[in-house]
């Protein structure tokens, strides 16, 4: 059980500034997910916490102790790697026992702990096998088992599910969550998969180009993204963006663009007042659009031309063009729509996102 505090953390390789001024406060028992596109510095950050990468500047504290110079073995952490990193010449039992042997636990205690971890993960039957005789999912469990036998203060996960096929990944994701609830160990989890981030994390840290973009609970990030990048990164299909001009007419604030003429609700209007007569980015999530009915007010709908209809069963994804912009709308499966149809799509006025065109920050 531990708190992990990261203060002004930087990592520079010769020319490349990989991690820029990262600050994080990870609470005891918290499951924090670092997410971002490849090369965003998330793995480097994790490796610095593990002690596998030297720190250029800044501090990492585990339970109020600075661990910057501590070798990995003395940090009392456990890490699960993307390729599992199982020791190929050792049996599953020895793989799991290795860390305890290195820490000079006595035999009976090692046996108990390995057995206990094996039971939690359901791998008791494979203890004598070599890693190459196991399937991907089983290897993943052994890698997890090797981490949990030591009862470390912090778990570090480096894209542990990326090598599994889609179905198994969903299953292991659930098991990971259960495992965390059961053990309550502080965990830092790195992934590029926003679904994993949203489902696993107590809090999610979105990173880009070495900078932390936003830290928050999954739904907070989803509903109130701090900037256009976070808004576009989380959610599938991704948020739609288009450039609109804000203009004052008839006592209200309007968002105008080719094919778009929206009267902004009062709350948004007051926030956006300083941006009147300027261009901003409008963001709309696909699920915040629906096919407009007769009751929908005209000034909260947009004209769209259907390009592609993707019927997923639970919903329909309409790829449409609005003015010159391509958008995706997730609509009710009962909607009848065909290619080249012209539709009016009603927007949820409370869930419109606006971003400064220059800084990309949310308004």
């Amino acid at each position: 059980m531990a708190r992990v505090v990261i203060r002004s953390l930087n990592k520079k390789y010769d020319e490349f500034h990989a991690v820029k001024d990262v600050n994080l406060d990870i609470r005891d028992q918290e499951f924090v997910v670092l997410v971002g596109p490849s090369g965003c510095g998330k793995t480097t950050t994790l490796r610095m916490v593990a002690g596998l990468e030297s720190i250029t500047s800044g501090h990492i504290l585990i339970d109020d102790t600075v661990v910057n110079e501590l070798p990995p073995m003395d940090r009392d952490i456990a890490m699960v790697f993307q390729n599992y990193a199982l020791y190929p010449h050792m049996s599953v039992y020895d793989n799991m026992a290795f860390g305890l042997k290195m820490r000079k636990f006595d035999r009976s205690q090692i046996g108990t702990r390995v057995q206990e971890a094996a039971e939690i993960l359901g791998i008791q039957d494979y203890l004598k096998r070599k890693p190459r005789q196991l399937s991907g999912g089983q290897r993943q469990r052994v890698a997890l088992g090797r981490a949990i036998v030591r009862h470390p203060r912090v778990f570090l996960f480096d894209e542990p599910l990326s090598n599994l096929d889609a179905k198994l990944r969903v299953q292991m994701r659930v098991e990971l969550k259960k495992l965390h609830v059961r053990l309550g160990t502080t965990a830092i989890y790195v992934t590029h998969d926003q679904v994993e981030a949203m489902t696993l994390g107590d809090r999610v840290v979105v990173m880009r180009d070495g900078w932390v973009q936003q830290v928050g609970e999954p739904l907070e990030l989803y509903n109130q993204p701090a900037n256009r990048f976070v808004a576009g990164f989380l959610g599938s299909p991704a948020m739609n963006f288009t450039t609109v001009r804000l203009s004052r007419e008839n006592g209200g604030l309007w968002a105008l663009a080719d094919g778009i003429r929206l009267k902004l609700p009062q709350t948004a209007a007051s926030r956006l007042a300083p941006y009147a007569d300027r261009e901003v980015s409008l963001g709309v999530r696909p699920e915040d659009m629906r096919v407009a009915g007769a009751a929908d007010p005209d000034d909260l709908a947009i004209d769209a031309l259907v390009e592609v209809v993707e019927r997923l069963g639970s919903e329909i994804l309409l790829d449409v063009t609005v003015g010159g912009t391509t958008m995706v709308a997730a609509v009710d499966p009962s909607v009848v729509a065909n290619m080249h149809d012209r539709l009016r799509l009603a927007l949820n006025p409370e869930r419109l996102h606006f971003f400064d065109s220059a800084t990309e920050a949310a308004i």
Binding site: P72, L86, F98
Partner: protein, 283 residues
């Protein structure tokens, strides 16, 4: 495998392979036939009416017997064995740590040091023996096994280092990182994780080093002179030709017996050896 009609398989696979195998094995066959052929058949002129160069109807172990009793052949075998094993162990030891350091540790000039080691391997032995013989003389090592045990590593260490460097690079570094997080020091991670995983590569390097030492000729020829100190390769070619008389039966028997240990080492380790060359470690 060649696909298609039977004639294609025969003409593009079986026939060429058979020809190749015959071509490669013929010297060994010739060695064997000559080694067991009685002298009266050996020295029969080729023009004689009953000349049968490719087989004999009167096989004899006389040459082998003479070789082991009347010459120093068994001493040479022992010398070669000791020298090869010692040189191999020294080279493996150095190669193992040098290869690990060059492939895993980050230190200044690691890359250029690696290249430098490789370049030393490229210096031909036929040139290197000249300065080396000077060194051997200054250290009074001439005509002792040490002359070879200490000079063979000049080409074996670079060889082992390069082979093992490549092998270490094929081992995912996460294995070692995981061990270090698990509580192992770098030293222990190397000993308990990296080296065992690299065992096929280490065996391959050892087999190659052993074979190269066993077959080495020029250093052994230059640095050793007394008949009791010689190795097989030099002893057979120098001491079994007395004056201008070639004792073909003994020569071939010596060559045959001399190649057995290498053949044995290869076949014994062939499984590891093959995987050492072709395989790597999957995560």
């Amino acid at each position: 495998m060649i696909e298609g009609a039977r004639w294609r398989r025969w003409s593009f696979f079986y026939v060429p392979v058979t020809a190749f195998v015959i071509f490669l094995l013929f010297p060994f066959y010739w060695m064997l036939v000559t080694a067991i052929r009685p002298d009266r058949e050996l020295y029969k002129p080729w023009s004689s009416p009953l000349y049968q160069p490719f087989w004999t109807l009167h096989p004899t172990f006389q040459h082998v017997h003479d070789l082991l009793t009347q010459t120093l052949f068994s001493t040479w075998m022992l010398n070669t064995m000791i020298i090869s094993i010692a040189a191999t162990l020294i080279s493996l030891f150095c190669g193992l740590f040098a290869g690990y350091a060059l492939s895993r540790l980050k230190f200044p000039f690691a890359g250029s040091i690696g290249t430098g080691i490789f370049i030393t391997y490229l210096v031909p032995q036929t040139l290197l023996f000249i300065p080396l013989s000077d060194i051997i003389r200054n250290f009074h090592l001439g005509d002792t096994p040490w002359a070879l045990i200490l000079t063979y590593p000049t080409f074996l260490v670079p060889f082992c280092t390069w082979l093992l460097m490549g092998y270490f690079k094929s081992i995912p570094k996460e294995l070692e990182e995981c061990a270090r997080i698990d509580g192992a020091t770098r030293w222990k991670a190397m000993l308990f994780i990296v080296f065992p995983v690299a065992l096929p590569g280490i065996l391959s390097a050892g087999i190659f080093a052993f074979t190269l030492s066993w077959n080495e000729f020029i250093y052994a020829l230059v640095f050793l002179s007394s008949p009791t100190e010689k190795t097989v390769s030099v002893g057979v070619t120098s001491d079994l030709v007395r004056g201008d008389v070639f004792y073909w039966g003994q020569l071939m028997a010596g060559a045959l017996l001399g190649s057995i240990p290498v053949a044995f080492v290869y076949s014994f380790f062939v499984e590891h050896y093959v995987s050492g060359i072709t395989g790597s470690v999957k995560g």
